[in-house]
Symmetry: C2
Subunit: 340 residues, 2 copies
DNA sequence: CTAGCTTCGCGAACCGGTTCGACGAAGTGA
DNA sequence: TCACTTCGTCGAACCGGTTCGCGAAGCTAG
C-alpha cells in the first residue's frame, strides 16, 4: 500500500495526496476529507525510507555510545533514556551506534550512508578525533563533554573541574587533611577522557589550594576493583580520612573495602564524589555527592542538536552544568585520630 | 556524491557499479578494480535510504523498551548494550523506541513507516497486545519474556517460576521457615508483567511445597521503597528470617532497611533473588542470587530475530533460560532464634 | 562458417515518496 | 468584457539506489 493507491482510491493525483499530508500547498477542504477518509480506512502511513530519500532527512539522530567492554554506568543508562524521550518530543528516532572495537565502521554507517541527520557523542576525550572529524565535515553533532578546545563547538558538559573542587572544599571544610581521589580506569585516563582529566585536575588544584595531602588512584569500573582500590589507599597511607570519586560503578566496592578495613562511614572516613542521585541513594550510608543530572543533560543535548540540524548556519552553543553538592550521609567531620 | 558519479568517473554504467558492489552478477576483474579505485578515492558509501527503498530492507531492528518513568534497571542497560553489539555482528543497526505514554504512536512509526525489519520487545506481559498484534501482522519480532501462550512464538525468557522456586528451596534447605517475597511495583503486577507474575507464582508454589510461612510484597523500583518495604515486612512478621526479591533497583534499600532494623545479613537474615551478577556483586555482603544473563539474552534475541527476518516461513523458536544460583555471601542457616 | 552458449555491460523500469512548473476555473478590479 | 490574480489540481522529474531483459563480443562445437 503506497501513496499511489491512496490517490487512486480518492480519485486524485499522488501529488495532491502528498500536499494534503504535508500541508505545503493548499488543498480544498473537500478533497482533504476524501483523502483522509481513505487513509484512515486503509491505515496508510508513508514509507520512511522513501520520504528520507526524497527530502534528504531521515528524522533520526545517532547516539554514539561507549562499548560494553567498559561496563555501563547508571548515568549512561539514564542518559540514553532521556535522549530517547527528548528525541521523541521533536519527532526524531534514536539510532544506537556502538563506538566499540570497530568504531570507524559504525561511524561510516551512520554518516557515510546518511542514516542519521545528526549525532550525539558520549565519552568525549580532550583530543577527540571524532569531534574534529564531524566539525570538518560540518555534520551536525553535539558532544556530551568538552574537548580541550571547546570554544566554538556544540556541547553539553558537566564542569568536572569545579565539581571535583567543590568536593575537596567540602571535605577540607570538615577538617579532612589526607584525601584520596578515585578516578576511572587507567586506560580511560591515558586515552584522554575528559571527565577523568578535568576531575583529576580540579581535585589536584583545589587540594593544593587547601594545603591537603593527596594521593590519586585509577580504578576499574566494577565493585571488585573498588574494594581493591580502597585496600591500596589504606595501605599507601593509613591516615587517609576521606576520598573523592567519580567512578560510579566502583562505589559499592569502595564501601565494601572501607567496611572490611573497619572504617565506619562517615564516622571514621568520609566519601563523596560525582554520581547520579539514583545511585548515590542506593548505597548505605547514602552518598553526599554532586548529582549528575543525566536526564537534564540528555534533554539539553537533543534540544541543541535539533536546533543545529534545523539551522545549519547557527554559531556553536553549549551548556556547562555545575550541580550543587547534595548533602547526604557519607561525609562528616574528620576525627583527627585516624585508626592506625 | 552518488552511484551515478562513481559510474561516470569509472566510465561504466550505474548498474555495473551496483553489481560490482553487491556481487550479484559477475563483473570483470578489470572493471571491478577501476570502480573500486574511484570509490576509494572519493570515499563513496551508498545511501542507506535509497538502498532501503529499492530492496525493501532497512538493515535496522527496533528495540522497544520501557518508558523512563519506570526507572531503568541495570539489567535493562546490559541488555541494550548486548543487543546493539549482537546486531552489529549481523550488520544491523538498532533503533530505540520508547513504548512510553504514547506507545501506539512510536509503534506506528517503527512498523507503519517501515523503519525497521523486525523488533525486539522488552517487558512482556502475560496478555500482551503488542505481541499479538505483531503476530497477526506477521511482522518479525522476538519477545524478551513469554506471554501466557508462548507455544508458537519467538522469544527468549528467563524461567522466573523455576528461579524463584530455586531461591525458596535454597532458603528452605538452610532452615528458614518464614520468608518474604519482594516483587516489582504493584502497577506492574496489575498490568500483568510476566516476570512479576511468574516469579510470584514460583515462589508461592515452592513455599507451599516446603510448608513455609510466607508473605508477599510489592515494592517500588528505588532504594527508598526497598527500605520502606523491609520495615513493612518486619512489622508484619518480626519472625521473618529471609526474603527473595526480583526487584534489582530496590536491593540497596532492602539492605539498608535490614541494617536499620539491626538485622545482620546473613547472620540474622538471609537475602536472595534474581539479579544481574554485576549488581549482586555491588552490594555488601554480595548477593547470593540467580544471575540474570542479560548479555546472553540480548545476543540470543538478536540471533533469533535475524533468523526470523531472513526466513519468514520458519516456525517459532525460543530459549527458556534457567541460570543456576550463584552462592555468594547473603544467605546463611536460619538461627532459629530471630531477634524479637 | 555458422549455430549456440557464456560473459560482461548497458539502458530502462522500479521502489515510494516530494516538489516544481503549468494549467483550467473561479474571482477581482477597471 | 477583458486582463490579471488566486486557488486547487495534475503530470513529470527527481532523490539514489537495485534489478530485469537485452544485446554485443568472444568461444566452442559441429
Amino acid at each position: 500500500m503506497n501513496i499511489g493507491e491512496i490517490a487512486e482510491r480518492a480519485g486524485v493525483s499522488r501529488s495532491t495526496v502528498s500536499y494534503a499530508l504535508s500541508g505545503k500547498r493548499s488543498v480544498s477542504e473537500e478533497t482533504r476529507r476524501k483523502i483522509q477518509r481513505v487513509i484512515d480506512e486503509l491505515g496508510y502511513r508513508p514509507n520512511a525510507s522513501a520520504r528520507a530519500l526524497a527530502n534528504g532527512r531521515t528524522s533520526t539522530i545517532g547516539l554514539v555510545f561507549p562499548p560494553a567492554g567498559n561496563h555501563y554506568t547508571g548515568m549512561q543508562l539514564d542518559f540514553i533514556g532521556s535522549v530517547v524521550e527528548a528525541a521523541a518530543v521533536h519527532d526524531y528516532d534514536v539510532l544506537l551506534s556502538p563506538s566499540g572495537v570497530d568504531s570507524d565502521r559504525s561511524f561510516q554507517r551512520l554518516l557515510g550512508e546518511r542514516r542519521v541527520d545528526g549525532a550525539i557523542l558520549m565519552e568525549i576525550r580532550l583530543e577527540d578525533d571524532r569531534v574534529e572529524h564531524l566539525a570538518e565535515l560540518d555534520f551536525p553533532s553535539v558532544a556530551i563533554g568538552r574537548t580541550a578546545h571547546p570554544e566554538s563547538g556544540w556541547w553539553v558538559s558537566l564542569d568536572h573541574t569545579a565539581l571535583a573542587a567543590a568536593c575537596v572544599h567540602h571535605l577540607a571544610d570538615l577538617g579532612h587533611r589526607r584525601v584520596a581521589f578515585v578516578n576511572r580506569p587507567e586506560q580511560l585516563l591515558y586515552a584522554g577522557y575528559e571527565s577523568a582529566h578535568r576531575g583529576l585536575d580540579g581535585f589536584t588544584k583545589a587540594a593544593a589550594e587547601r594545603g591537603l595531602t593527596v594521593r590519586t588512584y585509577c580504578c576499574g569500573d566494577d565493585a571488585a576493583s573498588g574494594q581493591e582500590c580502597v585496600e591500596r589507599i589504606l595501605h599507601d597511607d593509613p591516615a587517609t580520612t576521606a576520598l573523592v570519586t567519580l567512578n560510579e560503578a566502583a562505589l559499592g566496592g569502595l564501601y565494601r573495602g572501607l567496611a572490611r578495613a573497619g572504617r565506619h562511614v562517615p564516622r571514621d572516613f568520609s566519601v563523596t564524589g560525582i554520581v547520579a542521585s539514583r545511585w548515590a541513594e542506593t548505597v548505605t550510608p547514602q552518598l553526599t555527592a554532586a548529582d549528575v543530572p543525566a536526564e537534564e543533560m540528555g534533554r539539553r543535548a537533543v534540544d541543541l542538536l535539533v536546533e543545529r540540524i534545523e539551522q545549519p548556519t547557527a554559531p556553536g552553543r553549549h551548556h556547562l552544568l555545575t550541580p550543587p553538592i547534595s548533602l547526604r550521609a557519607s561525609t562528616g567531620p574528620a576525627t583527627g585520630t585516624p585508626i592506625p
